[in-house]
Every structure is written in structure tokens, then in C-alpha cells.
Symmetry: C2
Subunit: 543 residues, 2 copies
């Protein structure tokens, strides 16, 4: 302890100690920016004053419905205003927000609703059928459905459930918010997409969410009054916590229900979007958009990309469109991004290939994090900064989850040794920048050699006909495993032969790293644009 | 409480909970920006790697000298590298930093050294005599002097004390920092300048200092790699906490020992300064600099100003020089600035006088603060947002002091009702922007009417011959008090008559608000450029 000689009267009190929570940002924004636009969806616009009132009404309506602090309220919604409002309205009732991935099957949704003990679920009309199917299989108490209709998007109310607007209309616009008494209280519960086994529930706290907003604003150099477009689904790490950050900057959130090139370009020009986040696949969608879909704009747009390292071709194409791209890295367990590939001025002078290679690293820790490093998996000691020695990324800091809900053994395992184990394999370069070489389970071990699937993928992406690709291990009697490449081609190109693809990789890679098998097919993806390699592994096994 | 149904395993641990402290910023900067310049003073330059090592050596040397966590280390230094390094090195030893105002007399210094029980004091050679004088009067244990010589500035070592460079040379460059176990632990102890009675010791904690850095970086839109010039003395609210913030942005601190127009313009052009803070008087010094002193630069410099509302003439003059000025407001008890006069885009279109009037408000609360408002002093309820009703500014949030050291009754009084009482009198405008009308003790009550001394001062500043002014109450048999104006004239102007000055104010003010007495003299100022009205009140009493 480091107490002074006399600390009489130096205790915490209401004047000098307030539990950290992103709810404070919206309370302040209502005061500071009451008349600025906070939330836009097509023709709908809400100022901060209106937004605050709608969130208050939601909190009040939830409490009237019987929600008690610490209980769970779920959503099954795309990026529409209701899920944005839920980011404040649900915690403002003291409840915990559980945003469920809309791409999930009924069985998994039923599992999540039961495991979380959700009391209420806000469901977009489009997802009412799958929700009803899920609920029909539940053996525990099912949540009450509040239906969020979106007639403009082609989803008028079914008439069978209380509709969201009617629900919040019953709430008190002057409702006093439930501010957390303890900043360690849960604010959200997000289920990981779990490629094997049941998803795990990641519990995040108010303190971590608040610090994410501060660290992101500091590092993204976002400035006041940003215009943010919701491309990252709100059910993915709560949209990287950007909804919670925006009020601190007087920013505007524009909702984008469908992630299509046309919708994104429309929003950019209509609202003057300045910032968004999205997986590299979203950037590829924009780069490969048709002339009809593309629209001109003459301002720079800052883009955070994550989920996979952007290929040089993706960065180059995105920059040509006017996007300033920075890769960030994180996991649901870390609230989203916790490393960032800050581009030092010196990189601007590098030749393209070298610069793009550096930009494809996940970089360095965000300012709100305490320590992120690559460690040897046996000794837990830092690996040398040589850009070669492989280790696991471990993460320590205030934006790390409380733990997995109702799963103390998985929590203990994840926090083994006093840091969160990411499961991502990486090297650390001499400049301290971390580069992911693979998910632990994505490494291909061929003839005893570790092969990075990412390295092969980057090489494949430089082939002019390749639009998207993924490399996985294919079982092999002689070598144990060999690399198997799955490729999506660009529209209208002449299909190259397998041999041509392999020859292309041989120009850049050692022979043992080159794919032995090539498959042309559409790649299976998660709702957030991540390629589902486990499905491809199943395909590779039976080739 | 808002606990979830089952919180087993969701407790704090080393992975997910780290006490907030600005020390983390420098640890990260050493990793992320090791080769960037961190600290510059004339020909001296230190990279982040070197800066980190020097701070480690200081921490190590302090511990070797016997400093224990919670003990106090003082400084009596101008803005030179040693005081910057003390901002990290002292807390990195677990000790509490006490930066003593270099303008203080020996008696007050002795009081502070005794009250704080300082064990070590870092003293710039220039201030060795006053320190020795202070220590000679102490009846309690005196601190050990470490002398900080500055030969380049004309202060070579006396040879009678251990010199700072020798002291830290004895420290271990690989010393492990003492990171706080509790973010509520004290990081600093700053004595208020207390115009009456003994100064009070304001104890600040690691949590508040950390959140100051995050909130400031967010709101100042400072971006990466700022070049900051130390004009605000480090002994004033720890230089507004900017030293602690800079590493989070990879920023460079340039030390400025003497606050003269020539030194400031030299630094701006030599180092490409982008940001500084300073009282309006510093801006006036720059505006009124001679042609020889002024230097041209062609980049915009962001300036935070505080301590007094900038007059329209000051804002206009500063903007003409290339400074973007924002007024902020705070007190030692709030770590420095906690409100900011964010300029909405709409103001840019206003006529000058109207815009400058708005910019002279202290504005709205910073994002790290919870609630700052103007309340009725009797009921503690918010005053109406009418721009007219006077009340006291009260402040609640995480950047409010732990309390006054060894003074629980003053602490309890300051926090009465659950918010810190600033003692500043203000109105709140319909847009939520707060405007200070006076320090509680600066209000002039004439014939039962409250008169704002600030309002009269703003009017006087618009007179072309006036360089600086202050208005205080002069006792008056008939009216109780009347306004008495003290004026510093610009160099080389023809001295106006008293009547001409009074006539000038009458153009803008009601008769009862106009000064009845005018005195032309140099104004007494504190080391931070605040005009010492209590001295002028003494003069006015005997006129």
C-alpha cells in the first residue's frame, strides 16, 4: 500500500468518485449537444435531446415490464435504431444487454436465450420466425418478445407482439437512469461465435466499456462531430463500442441495415460519413462494386478494419477510393479492438509493397490497455522482437471481460498466468509491432514445419483473378498436413488453372508452403465477414 | 446492486483489472514510440527510450535515498527537464509529487515543506537561497536537497549539494516501477496559492490524473505527435496534467524556463510547437511583443487559456497571430481544466463581438467529468438557464481531489452536499454554457447591486490604450463599495485621463457599474499570471 502519513478525510465521496460508465457520455451530450443529430436511419433523424428521451423511455418501459438490475435483455436485430437505443436504454434500466447474432440458427438462439435467462428480447420483424422457432424448443422460461418493425425496409409489424414504438411510448421520458453503483457491474453479455461446441457468454463491465470509448477516441484522432456509419454489426462486440463513444464527441450514427456496396456508398454521400469500421471483406465489396453502385465523394474517410489482416490489394484499393485504413485487432473478450496499427510518418515514404506489408500487422496496444505481448506458450515469457519467433498474443488491461458467464473453468483457463490468452499466434517485429500469423487452430503443420495460412493467403490475393481466398490444412498421409487453397474469383475473369495458381505462389514462397490443392468455390462466411475455415476444413478432409 | 444471476468467477484479476495511472502511458510510449523525441530543452533532446530510462533512474535513486511509498518528494523548479521527469519518476517510486511554486517566499515554502513532511526536495540552483532560508526556519525535519543546476541558463551548480544528474546516475536504469495497487492512491500534493491564510494541500489520485489525460486528449482533438510547449508552470495543477498526457499521443514536450515573448516565439519556430496552454496574460504578452521578438510561423497553434476570461481584444489579437484559442476552466482541486468552451460551427458565422463574447465563457463540462452546474447557493438547485441568474459553480466527477491534506474540516466543507464548491460565481446561458461573473470574493456590491468586476474589465480592455486591467471594490461611505479600476497601459501610448477611461466604460455600461476611481500602475501578478486582486484591494482601501 502507498498511503500518505495522514489520509483522514481523503475518502471517496459523491463529489470525487463516480463509477465509470459510457452512460455518462449520453447524459453529457444531452446537455452539450442537445440539438445536434445523434441518430439517423433513412428519413428518420433524432437529435441528442430526442435520442436521450427515447433511451429514457426504453429504460422506463423495461422497468415497468418488470426488468430488475442485473437481468438480461436480448436483441435479435440488424443495425437499426432500436439496437442503438438499446445500447443506452438497457443499461440505463440496470439490465445487461445481450445482442444476439441475427445469422444464428434457432437451436443456438434457444441456447443463448436459456443460458442468459433473458427476460425480454427485442426482435426485428425479419427475425420473428427464427425467434419463435427457438422459443418453441425452450424448456426454461422464454423471454417476452418486443417486435421491432421496419416497414420501410419491407418488414411491417406482424400484429402479434407488442411493437417497439408502442412499448417505449409507455415509458416515462423523464425517467431517472439507473447509473451503476459499481463500475464492475455488467453492461453486456456477448456470445462468441464458437466454431466448435456451444458459444461462451462474454460478460463486459461498465468500466471497460467507458475506457474503450476514451482510448478509441484518443487514438483514432476522430475529432469532434464525426459521422459514423454502422457497418460493424452491433451484435459483434457491441459494434466495437462506437455507439457508446459517439456522444462523447457529439457524433452522429447513421444506421445501415443491409451491408451492400450500394447502401454504403449512398450513406457516405447522403450523410457525409467520416468514419466506419468493417472487416476487409467489406472493403473488398466496396472496391469491387460496379460503376452503378459506386459514388464519388471528395472527403477522406477513416476506416478501422479488423477480423483478418487486410491484403495489400485491399489496402491499395481502399486508399484509391478515398479511405484511410488502419488495422485494429481484438476479440469479443476484449470488447473489440485493443491493438492498432498506427502508421508512423516514415512509412508513407516506403515503396507500396513494403508499406502494405507493415500495415497488415495488428500493431501495438491501444492507450487504454496495460500490456499486450507475444509470449512463448510454454514459458509465458515474451518472444524476441525478431519478426520470426512465434508465440501467443496475451492481453492485460481494463478492457478485458469480467469472464465467461456461468463458466468459471473456461474463465480461469483464459486468464491463466494473469493475462487473457487470445489463441492467436503471432510474431513481434523489432519495432514492437505485432503480426498475427494464425489462429492457433489455423496453423498448418506439414512435414513438421509450421506454415502460416495467412502468408499463403496474402500471396494468393496478389493474383489478379483472385477476389477472396482461404487456406486450410488438408490431411496428408506423407506430410501430415498440406495447404489447401479455396478461392473466390473476381466477376468476369477467366478462370486460371490450379497449376497457374500454385505457380503464382511459388514465385514468393518456399515450396513446402505452396498449396498442394486448389478449390474454386464461394467461401462460407460469418455474419461479420469472417471466413468460416472450419467448414472448409471439412471440405478439405474429403477431397 | 446490479449483479447478474450468477457471477461465479467474474471477479477482478491481473488480466482484467489494472489500477488507472498516467504511469501506464509512459510505459506504453517506451514500447510504441521509443525513438520519437519526448523531451526537449534547448540543445538537449531525449527520446522516449531515454526519457523512460531517466525517470526509472530517478525512481530508483529516490528509493535508494530511503523514499517509501506514500512519502512526499517536492520540487522548487521552473519548467526544466527535471520537473518533467519528476512527474513520472516520483510516482514511479510510489512517492507523492509536491511541486512548489517558485515565486513563494521562504516562510510559505517552510510551511509547505513542514506540512507535507517532504523527505527530498529537487531545487533549481536559482532557488537554492530561498530554500535554504526556508529550511533554516523549520522546526521539524527538513528535506534533503537535490540541486538541479542549469548552467546554460546561468545557474551552474553551487557545489554544496548533490546535483540532479549525479543523483539519477546512481539509479538503476532497469528499475521496476512501483505501479499503484490502488488507483485512489495519491499521485500529487499541490498547495493552493491561498490569498488569505495558509495554503491548503490538494491531494490528487492516480485515477483522476489518468482520466484527465484521456478526457483532455479526446476534447482537445490533439491528434498524434503534438509538440507541446510548457508555458503553464508545472507547479500549477501539475501543468494541467499535460506532462502525463503527452506519452499517450507520442507527443514532444519542449521546456520553456522563462516565459517571455522572445523565448516563446523562438520555441514555436525552432520546434514547430503545435499546442500550449497559458493564462490570457501570456497571450497578451505575445500580442504586444515587439517586432524584434515576434517570429513568423505558418501553422495553426492550439491554445488552451485559463485563469481569467480572455477579453475580446485578446482573442482577436491571438487569432491574428495564428493561435486557435479555447478557454477552459478549473481549479487546483479539479486537477486543472474541467470545463471547455467548445466552439460550435455556428459561432464562426457570428459578428466578431458576439463570437468573442461567447468564447469568453467557460463553457461545458469535459467528457471525463460527471456533472458541472451553476446552483443556487442556498438551495443547491440548478439556476435557470437564462444567462442572468447568478449561482455558484459546483463540480462532480472523477477529476476532483481526494481532499485537503490534514484538513478534514475544509474537505468536508468543500464537498458539502455531494459536489465540490468552486467558489466561483456564474450564470448559465440557454445553450448550457457557463459564464463566470466573478470569484465569490471579487463581486462588488454597490448600493445593494451586485456588479461583476469581469464585465467592467472587458469594457476597459476594449480601450485602445489599455494593455491590462483589474477592477476591485473600493470601500465607500455612501454606496458601501464602488468599482475601482487599475490599469496597465500599452507601451508608447499617450496616457488617457481618468475621465476619458470612465467615459469609455459609460458607452457600454450602466452608470452604477462604471469605475468611480482609476489608477494607472503595474498590476501585481502570481507566477501563473493571475492578477492578485487582494493586493489591489489593499491599495483601493487607502486611496
Amino acid at each position: 500500500m502507498a498511503k500518505m502519513a495522514n489520509e483522514t478525510g481523503l475518502t471517496k465521496c459523491a463529489a470525487n468518485y463516480v463509477p465509470l460508465t459510457p452512460l455518462s457520455h449520453l447524459k453529457r451530450a444531452r446537455d452539450v449537444y442537445p440539438n445536434r443529430d445523434a441518430l439517423v436511419y433513412g428519413a428518420r433523424r433524432h437529435t441528442y435531446e430526442e435520442y436521450y428521451i427515447r433511451c429514457s423511455q426504453l429504460a422506463s418501459a423495461l422497468e415497468k415490464q418488470g426488468i430488475r438490475p442485473g437481468e438480461v435483455v436480448s436483441t435479435i436485430c440488424p443495425n437499426i435504431p432500436a439496437i442503438i437505443e438499446a445500447n443506452f436504454g438497457v443499461p440505463a434500466s440496470g439490465a445487461v444487454l445481450n445482442t444476439i447474432n441475427t445469422r444464428l440458427d434457432a437451436d443456438t438462439i434457444a441456447y443463448i436465450l436459456a443460458h442468459s435467462e433473458a427476460k425480454i428480447v427485442l426482435v426485428d420483424t425479419q427475425f420473428i420466425p427464427v425467434t419463435l422457432e427457438a422459443i418453441s424448443t425452450m424448456t426454461t422460461d422464454a423471454p417476452t418478445i418486443i417486435e421491432v418493425a421496419d416497414a420501410t425496409a419491407g418488414f411491417p409489424p406482424t400484429g402479434k407482439h407488442v411493437e417497439y414504438e408502442d412499448f417505449i411510448a409507455g415509458g416515462d421520458p423523464h425517467h431517472a437512469w439507473h447509473m451503476p453503483e459499481d463500475e464492475w457491474d455488467a453492461i453486456s453479455l456477448n456470445y462468441t461465435s464458437g466454431t466448435t461446441g456451444r458459444p461462451k457468454g462474454v460478460v463486459c463491465h461498465h468500466r471497460g466499456a467507458y475506457l474503450m470509448t476514451m482510448g478509441t477516441a484518443l487514438s483514432w484522432q476522430i475529432g469532434l462531430y464525426p459521422k459514423y456509419l454502422t457497418i460493424v454489426p452491433l451484435f459483434h462486440c457491441n459494434g466495437w463500442n462506437h455507439t457508446w463513444m459517439m456522444p462523447s464527441l457529439g457524433g452522429q450514427i447513421t444506421c445501415c441495415r443491409d451491408i451492400t456496396a450500394a447502401a454504403i456508398f449512398d450513406a457516405i454521400t447522403a450523410e457525409g460519413i467520416t468514419h466506419f469500421g468493417g472487416a476487409p471483406i467489406v472493403l473488398n465489396t466496396l472496391i469491387n462494386a460496379t460503376a452503378d453502385e459506386k459514388k464519388c465523394f471528395n472527403h477522406e474517410i477513416s476506416v478501422l478494419t479488423a477480423g483478418a489482416p487486410p491484403s495489400p490489394a485491399t489496402i491499395k484499393g481502399a486508399e484509391a477510393l478515398g479511405f484511410k485504413v488502419m488495422q485494429v485487432y481484438g476479440l469479443t473478450e476484449t470488447y473489440g479492438h485493443v491493438t492498432e496499427c498506427i502508421e508512423p510518418n516514415e512509412w508513407m515514404a516506403l515503396p507500396d509493397p513494403e508499406r502494405y506489408t507493415k500495415m497488415a500487422r495488428v500493431g501495438v496496444q491501444y492507450p487504454m490497455m496495460e500490456n499486450i505481448e507475444v509470449v512463448d506458450q510454454d514459458t509465458l515469457k515474451s518472444v524476441p522482437r525478431d519478426g520470426k519467433t512465434i508465440g501467443e498474443i496475451v492481453i492485460r488491461g481494463n478492457s478485458v471481460m469480467k469472464g465467461y458467464y456461468k463458466n468459471p473453468s473456461a474463465t480461469a483457463e483464459a486468464f491463466d498466468g494473469g493475462a487473457f490468452h487470445s489463441g492467436d499466434i503471432a510474431v513481434c517485429h523489432p519495432d514492437g509491432y505485432i503480426q498475427i500469423t494464425d489462429r492457433m487452430k489455423d496453423i498448418i503443420i506439414s512435414g513438421g514445419e509450421n506454415i502460416s495460412s495467412v502468408e499463403i493467403e496474402n500471396t494468393l490475393m496478389s493474383h489478379p483473378a483472385v477476389s477472396l481466398c482461404a487456406v486450410v490444412a488438408r490431411p496428408d498421409e506423407k506430410w501430415g498436413e498440406t495447404p489447401c487453397a479455396f478461392i473466390e474469383l473476381k466477376d468476369g475473369v477467366v478462370k486460371p488453372s490450379d497449376a497457374e495458381i500454385i505457380a503464382h505462389t511459388r514465385k514468393y514462397l518456399s515450396g513446402f508452403k505452396c498449396p498442394k490443392t486448389v478449390v474454386f468455390q464461394e467461401l462460407p462466411k460469418t455474419s461479420t465477414g469472417k471466413i468460416q475455415k472450419f467448414e472448409l476444413r471439412d471440405v478439405a478432409k474429403v477431397l
